[in-house]
């Protein structure tokens, strides 16, 4: 009693109420936690798989893009885990010959073209086979623009507005035998190699670059099953290639198996694998 009045009645929890509340709360917390854990595991799984798929897809797209334009003799070296190719940067046609000078229409893409990307050039014979010569662009390229365009205009080439696509190339191999109408290619020698990833040493990666130069890691997360397979018209099916076995001139089909594996992760994320196989018949190989 305070001041002679009754104090307000404040009812507390009984022990039973508290116990029931705690049990119910625990059940709710357990349910919510399990939902959260499951959801988190699913999320991790999806992220894992997404990353794996992206790696494999990137590798397959890049390799098939590089292989698609190969011409006959475009495979320099072939091994189960690497291939060295001559990737055409552009193809052109001889429209004038003056002793050791060749005037050539060669659409190099203007400002997009980088001379240091050129590893050499190829010349196509009447039978459609290419012969390749390694050379720096600066060692053969003498001029571009109106001069060479003028020569080519004389044999019917449309030159208006595109004179930068006409070039004078000197001292091409066999220039004595060159004639108007011969096809010319500039190519880049390129390595595609499967090796241990520098970013994730537990997996493999596809590397791309110039032979003898630094190779760039362009797709990670590949597994041991990744590799190159080769086909020739003379043989049924595709096979692994061991250097020195067979004639690379005859390769008319290259298969790239991009296999990836994501290891198991936290929260019981299960391991996953993904494989994409692309078979590329190079378009310029007859």
């Amino acid at each position: 009693m305070v001041d002679g009045k009754a104090s307000p009645s404040v009812q507390g929890f009984t022990l039973l109420e508290a116990l029931i509340a705690m049990v119910l709360s625990s059940v709710v917390v357990m349910l919510v936690t399990s939902v959260f854990v499951v959801q988190n595991r699913f999320y991790s799984q999806v992220v894992n798989r997404a990353s794996l798929h992206e790696s494999v897809r990137t590798a397959a797209a890049l390799v098939s893009s590089d292989l698609r334009g190969l011409a006959s003799g475009g495979v320099v070296a072939a091994e189960p885990d690497s291939v060295v190719i001559r990737a055409p940067l552009a193809m052109g046609v001889v429209c004038g010959v003056d002793q050791r000078k060749a005037y050539v229409f060669l659409p190099l893409g203007g400002s997009a073209f980088r001379a240091d990307e050129v590893s050499g050039y190829g010349l196509r014979d009447a039978a459609g086979s290419w012969s390749y010569t390694s050379a720096e662009w600066s060692s053969v390229h003498r001029a571009s623009g109106p001069g060479p365009a003028g020569v080519c205009a004389g044999v019917g080439a449309e030159v208006e507005g595109v004179s930068e696509d006409f070039h004078r190339l000197d001292d091409l191999a066999g220039s004595g035998a060159l004639k108007v109408g011969d096809m010319v290619m500039v190519f880049q020698e390129r390595v595609l190699k499967i090796g241990v990833s520098a970013l994730d040493p537990s997996s493999k990666a596809i590397y791309r670059g110039r032979p003898g130069g630094t190779l760039a890691e362009v797709a990670t997360g590949l597994s041991e099953e990744s590799g190159f397979w080769y086909g020739t018209p003379a043989e049924q099916g595709l096979r692994r290639w061991v250097r020195g076995r067979g004639n690379l001139e005859g390769v008319n089909k290259i298969q790239f198996v991009a296999a990836g594996a994501a290891p198991s992760g936290r929260l019981g994320v299960s391991p996953s694998t993904f494989q994409l196989t692309v078979t590329v018949p190079p378009k310029n190989v007859r």
Binding site: V10, A61, R68
Partner: protein, 351 residues
């Protein structure tokens, strides 16, 4: 009156479960949102890769469509909707290989746009060289027949010297061609005259003659190959003087003076010039077979006559009429069915 905490008539039971649930739901929502964003981003990357592939397929399809459908004069540009994308094809002449052949660079730019991202189209460019032959055949002789024996007799004349005057068409006059090309034997009898450089040629076999001429006979007689006049006859009077149309006659054809005209005439069956016919033609005549020409025709053909490209002919006699080589008429007539032939091994992906 008792005042109860927590509002009038209520009781403050101070539970924490609701707060915990709200907090966990928020955490789950946040994690879900992050997960969704990552998956969406990956899906976006996959979509971009897919669009790039689609654009390449569109470019490639555009290139093939253009070269396959090209007929007559080569267009500078063309647009083709294919596989949900658009291929913009452009051509550039890079070389005149011969008076009848030009080399073109055909470039196809494939554009594939996802309607959800109209400002971000995927673009790929492919190119290939293609040879445009303005003549559907090599002009080997004024008269080509796959007969083992051709006899030119009586008043018949075959001449391989070009009748085109200088300047009538590019590269005119053409160097003289042979008078007659046959399989094994060309004879002139009783006043018949064959001239040309050489006078006549024989190549031994049906296949050799067909290969030397290079005429896509099966293509030309295929009903799906489009010609301007298919089994119907043009009103030449209403056509321009310089228009030499392509005409295909299905089956045998026995022309009379009223059917004189000009252009590329394809007779899928046998061309039989009736006795007394004064038929005149300027251009190229291609026939599945030839009936012997009797002694009383006045037919005259300026251009080229090629017969028996589908199957070998029997011996053939020409006892009257005149076949003379005219390169300009042949060229103008052949242009109606001129085709683009891709040069193998020259495909490349552009910048």
């Amino acid at each position: 009156m008792c005042a109860e905490a927590g509002g009038p008539g209520g009781r403050n039971e101070g539970g924490f479960a609701l707060a915990l649930v709200v907090m966990l739901l928020f955490a789950i929502g946040a994690a879900g949102t992050v997960g969704y964003q990552i998956v969406r981003s990956e899906a976006f990357q996959a979509q971009l890769a897919s669009e790039a592939s689609q654009a390449l397929a569109v470019a490639e399809a555009g290139l093939q469509w253009f070269t396959a459908s090209q007929q007559g004069t080569v267009r500078d540009t063309a647009t083709h909707a294919v596989n949900g994308g658009i291929a913009r094809v452009s051509t550039r002449k890079v070389l005149e290989v011969s008076p009848h052949e030009d080399l073109f660079l055909v470039t196809s730019r494939g554009i594939f746009t996802d309607p959800r991202r109209p400002r971000m189209p995927a673009v790929r460019t492919v190119s290939q060289y293609a040879l445009h032959s303005r003549m559907p055949l090599r002009p080997m002789a004024a008269l080509v027949a796959t007969s083992p024996r051709v006899r030119v007799r009586g008043s018949a004349v075959v001449d391989g010297a070009d009748q085109s005057p200088v300047g009538e068409c590019p590269a005119a006059p053409h160097p003289s061609v042979a008078g007659v090309l046959a399989r094994a034997n060309v004879q002139t009898w009783g006043g018949g005259r064959v001239s040309g450089t050489p006078q006549s040629m024989t190549l031994g076999s049906f296949a050799s003659v067909v290969q030397a001429v290079g005429l896509p006979w099966k293509v030309l007689i295929d009903p799906s190959f489009p010609v301007e006049y298919d089994d119907r006859w043009p009103a030449f009077a209403s056509l321009g003087e310089m228009v030499l149309p392509a005409i295909r006659v299905k089956g045998d054809f026995a022309p009379t003076a009223g059917e004189s005209g000009r252009g590329l005439l394809i007779v899928t069956g046998t061309l039989g010039i009736p006795d007394g016919s004064q038929w005149e033609w300027k251009g190229v005549v291609l026939a599945g077979d030839l009936a012997n020409v009797g002694p009383n025709t006045g037919f005259a053909l300026e251009g080229l006559l090629v017969a028996g490209q589908g199957s070998s002919m029997g011996n053939w006699d020409m006892d009257s009429g005149r076949v003379v080589f005219h390169s300009c008429y042949a060229l103008q007539a052949g242009a109606a069915v001129a085709r683009l032939v891709p040069v193998s091994g020259t495909w490349f992906q552009g910048f």
